[in-house]
Symmetry: D2
Subunit: 352 residues, 4 copies
């Protein structure tokens, strides 16, 4: 059986679009192990990481032969299950945790598949969801709450989960009266801001270059807005009266890491979620004020359940713009040029 | 009344010794507020920070007029107390927490004077203990356990406290089977290694350039020794089978920060205690493996009590080399040239 | 100088009111130590503990000679300060943390005055705020936010702080999708419910015998209401689908402790804030499901600052009913008979 | 195929031995699901819970039809694996976590199989290891370190794991200078004491009625010994100068729970590991000093790996007395009468 899929054929550091991926007919994937599931894709989120992959930024981590199918943010309906699978049945609507853990290392035993010793990222290292079907591990399926459609839920798998994971870690150390800075109000940031607001009572300062993004942040509950400029740090220091307890950075490129460090108060925590740039800091600046820096990637199965609980009661809300799978390059181009509010999601023609 | 004191008169980025400080007669300090105490100095530890001060590295933080008296690691006997002081009496042997907090900000309320909003470091920003007497805040005095002499205890105030503080934070996340790397087995490192060994059951890997320092580490209980070289990271990766859970860095200069990051396992924590160098890392390397970086400076009053409890039962042991206060420059020179095993301590002539 | 005060002259286990306390002329208190402050009372909250004191329940803890002035929940204006006091000045509006710690034990050093080795409760063990003036420790004063009146703030000192302290500990372990049960929607409970709602995203189930109290809970944001009956446990088990993650018990009398334990899920935490009854449980029931029980009394200075931050932005709101100091017995009687919604507060005539 | 097994045929509240179980020929168990493993038993620990089962104390939890095979503390060699099993192979020596979780509920996802929503205890609710063979879940197998024999390792599955789990939770809140009380130096207690000593630097007070047990505790590193009497609480209060930070109770019967609560300092934690008795306490005694009570049952797969790491390096050492499987009743009788130092372990004839 053949299906439609969007694949990457070459890395290109200077890729400007619009022909990032090739939409083509490929063989449908099949279950090859008893613990797998075949899922009919209902929606697949479009992420800045896809652009980074095209540029070759993940090449070393990937170790993947081209061409392969992108898409690490997937939801759909279970089509078929392996012989050892329990708890899900064909027809169930599900969203898929993209971090495929081995399930047996110590990290996986603690539920931290995103820290697995033998971690494989679906859509990054193996075929993903920019297709009609995908094969995944059954342990990565999370059933959708009553009434939630796969195409509306797909982006919870990464934009939602990664930002929730980081926001939850931030909230654990934020007290009433503290300030948290959220840098970058895009696909992840707009979810992180909402998660933070749901999980703690700190004041939230949204930072973005785009006025539109800041207006969006305000709608979502930001207490203060700061348009990125050459005096961003000063603006934040004034608003906070001495520095933020937490900076959640969904950009982490250009000079943002240095600015993020500079706007922390004594003992503050800089949570890195974005990537692409470099952090440079004197060790004295880390030591002298007991600052911290914390990496965040993906999240856990339990955290996706928690996030869906918030979504089901409308405490957080994913902002989604749908594209046909055929229009994947348009979606990537819109993302690359800041034309998407929230998250773009590809919908295969069969399920649109 | 006059007393002897060692003061800094000039900053010199290229200071090579041996005339770092000037030993001279100065006026004895006096209590000027009801919450202060006058302490007769019994011992004052000699720290690499003193060399950094001479080089002007702390100049911006200090905002101090020269000349002033160095010495931030002090113990002695209470000589006189202010009218509002309770809990200590003249004659009591005490060690002094060098972080003088205001006592009223939120950090101080939590006991974290080392994070005070209005923090003043004794011996760095105001006159310290390289002298016969010093005036300090009574809230910073910690009574010595039965039978412990001030000159033997002085170095617990910083070499002990700072390394214990960091080791305690490290121990809180180290499980049996995990590996912790301790870089730099000097004044702080030799205490940090012992504290780590007392507080958890992880395997300890000691790293130093000096064979003598490594032999010292072995005596103190290190499980593995690695002589620093251009394959330090590979050595640690082999010993740990994939990276250390924690790196405790008492050096943090030259290329050590980059090596420290590289030897962490997924989710690992790089604790910065030393300073002087620069950390440079792609944000992708922080994000992708959820690595963390944690600054450490000083410790709390409670932690010094905890450390003295360990010292009193001989679970940790400070290695000290005594110098007369007059020989302060020799002591600094020995430190600068790696000729001290453990910690050098100045003893004023009156109390030697 | 004389002032008006409400004092207890006798313990009476069967006290039914309305003559619990005697309002009389007494000598104005004076500052006797350099770290004290004299405060003109602006409001003093009326608490069930006052009834318990009259009944002799605190007699053993108190070790206090009668008569003395009740009132542990106080706010007012600084009238005079001792010679060693900094940070507050005469005229400042303040609320007073009732747990007077010695300031030097390890618990106080960590900011946990409520766990001080030499703890003295103001209004329970020494004269309190049912009077025109009181003397307290300056370290227990918390300045009021701009625009907040003492009589509106008094009840934050105990009803607010104790319930916030417990709610904060509960929130730290509540995840989205979890259920928290709040038992008793009175002076403390109505604040605890709001604090919980501000600090986490769990579902809140309010339990009370009174329909009026439940209606109040609904206004304050409870997700589910359960009227206490002989099938309370079953009701909660049904709503939660297997037990609550946390039970916050502001009653802790009669058969409530046993019911609270029974409605916990595996690993759940029973937070005891109220008192007066007895907990009886087989150790097998604690062990077999890893249940926990956690005592809560008062809170810290920092927590009162956090709570005032929430109050200043109207995230939590204290419901207060004012009484003249002369009407103290009426207030106590209304409390005893469940006729107060929120908290009763006594206002001295001079400041009403 | 037939094998030898020791089964319970009747509950008897007054069982005095020596005929607690019947050793008889039964059919060998077989793998019926792809995620199971068949294990040849090398050793099966004898636990006080076996006596409690015989007395019917677990009857309500068990819901098991008699007769069935006891033995929840098992180790052996993998004989056969189901089709979906990875990571273990026939011939591997393994120890078995007795808490069989469903692997898909939220607790299991976090690695807390001992808190599984659908928890089944092997040897308590289904056939256990008092036999030549047993069938279990492959996810519950933990490979033994090089050179460790199953019969020497069996008791790590419960006596080891349960006590390590509780000791680890205790150690997380024990600081140098703190005191921890360990009550009951038997099969679990002798391991708990060693684990505590490995994981923190607190002082350990061992309490037991038996002088022999106390001598054993001293060998294992206890700092103080208290023979249980009617002044146990006073003895502990004197040794600790105001109460213990933690009480680890491996008895939890008779008047021990009340004594344990009474010997806690303010904020202290009573960890219940044993069971059989009742805890009775005024809620005021929990509230007023912020005491805590924490149930402990079993442990996690990760914790068993941690414990084996300690055992492999000889930091903790299980004291074992071997019995032939045929002598199961003698072993139970010895246990019942306090004649075993450490833990009794049954060894099937084929593997002895």
């Amino acid at each position: 059986m053949m299906m439609k899929a969007a694949r990457i054929h070459d890395f290109d550091p200077d890729a400007k679009g619009p022909d990032y991926l090739r939409v083509e007919e490929v063989t449908e994937p099949e279950i090859t192990r008893p613990d797998q599931a075949l899922v009919r894709v209902g929606g697949a989120g479009v992420c800045r990481t896809d652009l980074h992959i095209v540029q070759g930024l993940w090449r070393e981590v990937q170790q993947t032969e081209l061409p392969y199918i992108l898409g690490h943010e997937n939801a759909g309906w279970v089509e078929e299950i392996g012989s050892a699978v329990e708890g899900v049945s064909p027809g169930d609507p599900v969203v898929i945790v993209p971090a495929l853990g081995d399930g047996t290392c110590r990290a996986c035993r603690r539920g931290e598949d995103n820290r697995c010793d033998n971690l494989v990222w679906q859509g990054i290292q193996i075929d993903g969801g920019y297709a009609d079907y995908l094969v995944t591990k059954a342990r990565n399926l999370v059933p959708l709450p009553e009434g939630m459609e796969p195409k509306a839920a797909a982006a919870y798998a990464d934009a939602g989960l990664s930002s929730y994971h980081a926001a939850k870690r931030a909230a654990a150390e934020l007290l009433p009266g503290d300030h948290a800075v959220v840098i970058g109000i895009g696909g992840l940031g707009h979810m992180g801001l909402q998660a933070l607001s749901a999980l703690c009572a700190a004041k939230i300062i949204a930072v973005d270059v785009s006025e539109e993004a800041l207006a969006f942040a305000e709608e979502l509950g930001a207490d203060h807005l700061v348009q990125a400029s050459d005096h961003t740090v000063e603006d934040v220091m004034t608003l906070t009266g001495g520095g933020a307890a937490v900076v959640l950075d969904f950009v982490a490129e250009h000079d943002v890491p240095q600015a993020a460090m500079a706007m922390l108060r004594t003992g503050g925590n800089y949570l890195v979620v974005g990537y692409g740039g470099e952090l440079r800091t004197p060790t004295m600046a880390i030591m002298g004020q007991e600052k911290r820096i914390t990496g965040n990637v993906g999240g856990t199965h339990d955290e996706l359940i928690e996030l869906l609980a918030l979504a089901a009661e409308d405490t957080v809300r994913l902002h989604v713009r749908e594209y046909a799978l055929d229009d994947v390059n348009e979606a990537l181009d819109d993302l690359s040029n800041g034309r998407i509010r929230g998250r773009g999601v590809l919908v295969p023609s069969a399920t649109s």
